[in-house]
């Protein structure tokens, strides 16, 4: 039987799943209490890090870095350490963290408490996207107060001697703050301009102190993994991509939605879950992991399974698990232009190749859609993209370059047609 909704979404079909009593009724906070009521010392911390390492959980924010390994980078010193949850969900096509925050906020809180304890970080911040101010932020705030009321957070929690204070933070609209060091700058009250790495946050994070930043889904997965054990977790997914992932399936499908399913599910099965293609149209292309991952033609993704290794070998990435489905009849030039406008407007302005290059990309694509394009513009587009890729402080530059490179690689003839036909789309 296919495991569905077994981790972050395990309780979301219950009424008022966001309330603490309902979370507790389904076993919530038991793992946190067990840790507190055991012998909460260094041995216990180590044990948790080992469990997460063994589980093979990888960061769900897009990069897929092994979570347990990331936790083990935190120094074993007594200085103030911080844990930060990245709830600045804004990778285009991605909307599962918002759903976790709305329907299962206590899994995030419990996950943060456990992670904070494991790394001896006694203060946590949940950086929530600014636009969620009236949407899920009130729920997250409500849940936090509930956790405090039940003495599950704070000082000397349940008499254990363990301290963990958690605060919600609110951003104010900037895609770049989803980048972990941009986020830390923003948390310090500055413009969200990413920092050079190294030093990595584990050494120099918020206020210059050791900090770990994990994504919402990653942290919300922690309590269930500890409750059910690593064998159970690894029984789902593949060797290199254990466990489950929430796929945000959007675009030209009949049932867009967030589907929490084992990694390694064939793309065809995922598409079927999402109700199949809208209007029975033919599948043209898929952006498999958020706008920043490379587009794959329909016949390529058709043979893929949805995991880190399969999508990487196909030339793209699992990214945030935002699967954007594109049907035949869609103009790929217009789609790339929209993508490039986004990176042009949202770049932070810090690195020259990205600040200048994203403008070049957008203006060249505008020129082509206005019917003023030349064949040489396509070479120029790829050239500019190549000069951004790898030459910036953070991965935003790569994210701006990859759509351009992959759209032109796979759909060259559509760009060529538009250039030769005064801006007319082959898809129209």
């Amino acid at each position: 039987m296919m495991h569905e909704n077994s981790i972050c979404f395990s309780n979301i079909n219950q009424p008022e799943s966001w309330k603490i009593e309902n979370y507790m009724a389904s076993g919530g906070y038991l793992q946190w209490k067990k840790i507190l009521q055991g012998q909460p010392g260094d041995k216990a911390r180590q044990k948790i890090v080992e469990i997460i390492k063994t589980s093979g959980l990888r960061g769900r924010g897009g990069a897929g870095f092994p979570t347990g390994l990331k936790w083990s980078f935190m120094p074993k010193t007594t200085e103030q350490k911080y844990l930060v949850c990245n709830s600045d969900e804004s990778e285009p096509g991605t909307c599962h963290d918002r759903e976790i925050l709305k329907l299962n906020p206590h899994a995030v809180i419990e996950g943060m408490a456990i992670a904070g304890f494991a790394m001896d970080a006694t203060v946590g911040y949940n950086y929530v996207r600014g636009e969620f101010i009236k949407d899920c932020y009130p729920i997250v705030e409500f849940a936090l107060q509930e956790a405090y009321t039940h003495n599950l957070l704070g000082k000397n929690i349940l008499g254990s001697g363990v301290n963990f204070d958690l605060y919600n933070f609110l951003g104010a609209g900037a895609y770049i703050c989803g980048e972990e060091t941009g986020l830390l700058e923003s948390l310090e009250g500055k413009q969200g301009k990413p920092r050079f790495k190294p030093p990595f946050p584990a050494k120099f994070g918020v206020y210059g102190m050791p900090t770990t930043v994990n994504n919402t889904q990653t942290l919300a997965s922690v309590p269930k993994i500890i409750e059910q054990g690593t064998e159970w977790y690894k029984s789902m997914g593949t060797d290199k991509s254990p466990g489950t992932n929430i796929f945000s399936v959007t675009g030209h499908v009949n049932k867009p939605g967030n589907y929490e399913l084992p990694l390694g599910i064939p793309f065809a099965d995922l598409l079927e879950r999402a109700g199949g293609m809208l209007d029975n149209k033919k599948l043209k292309a898929v952006i498999p992991g958020g706008l920043s991952t490379k587009v794959l033609p329909g016949d390529v993704i058709a043979d893929c399974t949805m995991d880190y290794e399969s999508l990487a070998s196909a030339g793209s990435a699992l990214g945030t698990g935002a699967v954007v489905v594109i049907a035949e009849g869609t103009c790929m030039v217009e789609l790339l232009k929209r993508s490039s406008r986004f990176y042009y407007v949202e770049n932070c302005g810090q690195c020259t190749p990205c600040r200048e290059g994203t403008g070049w990309l957008y203006r060249l694509l505008q020129k082509i859609t206005q019917g003023k394009g030349q064949e040489s513009d396509l070479t120029l587009l790829v050239d500019v993209a190549n000069r951004i890729e790898g030459n910036t402080i953070c991965a935003f530059g790569d994210a701006a370059a990859w759509p351009v490179q992959s759209f032109i690689e796979h759909y060259y003839s559509e760009f060529e047609y538009m250039i030769n036909n005064h801006g007319k789309s082959i898809a129209a």
């Binding site: 804004s90 285009p92 991605t94 949407d135 609110l170 104010a172 675009g251 867009p256």
Partner: protein, 170 residues
């Protein structure tokens, strides 16, 4: 620290309380972290936009240089530094919404309000924000935010109902 030759505006007690709540979340001396939260509070109480006087007042209250506040106010897209309409509409036009027909929604709203993205209606009621970011409600595409309430699965009828309601407001 206020701008030279101008007297600093006094923030209301309600806003000061809200700012204090933000300051309390951070270590002593790290009140710079409270700028974003403070600006949210101030903007909400000033019909959706910030003025230099308000930004200076925030800097003064937090005991920070004004430039720290200006830097934040001009970097983040949710802060408006020019007067805008009382109600804010932000239509998502990013990838998933675009594939689900958001351009049609934008054209319809622009036509009905007789303004372009980034403009405010003449009666000052509606500010049509030029939204560049994906608003993370892609499974409900196309969608928009009206005063930061998420409204998903839009169609022209639904949009008309919302605009009618906003139009009737005094």
């Amino acid at each position: 620290m206020s701008t030279e030759n101008t007297e600093t505006m006094e923030l209301t007690e309600t806003i000061k309380e809200k700012i204090d709540t933000w300051v309390a979340k951070f270590p002593v001396g790290k009140q710079r972290s409270a700028i974003i939260g403070s600006l949210h509070a101030v903007q909400e109480h000033n019909q959706g936009y910030l003025t230099p006087e308000l930004m200076d007042a925030v800097a003064d209250y937090l005991d920070l240089p004004c430039i720290y506040v200006y830097e934040v106010a001009t970097f983040y897209s949710m802060f408006q530094t020019e007067p805008v309409g009382y109600n804010e509409i932000a239509i998502c036009t990013n990838i998933s919404c675009m594939l689900s027909g958001s351009d049609e929604i934008v054209h319809h709203v622009e036509d009905r309000l007789n303004i372009k993205l980034g403009e405010t209606t003449k009666d000052g009621k509606i500010f049509l924000k030029k939204e560049e970011e994906c608003l993370a409600a892609c499974t409900g595409a196309p969608m928009m935010m009206v005063n930061h309430q998420y409204i998903e699965n839009l169609n022209i009828e639904k949009v008309n109902e919302i605009l009618d309601k906003l139009g009737q407001q005094k």
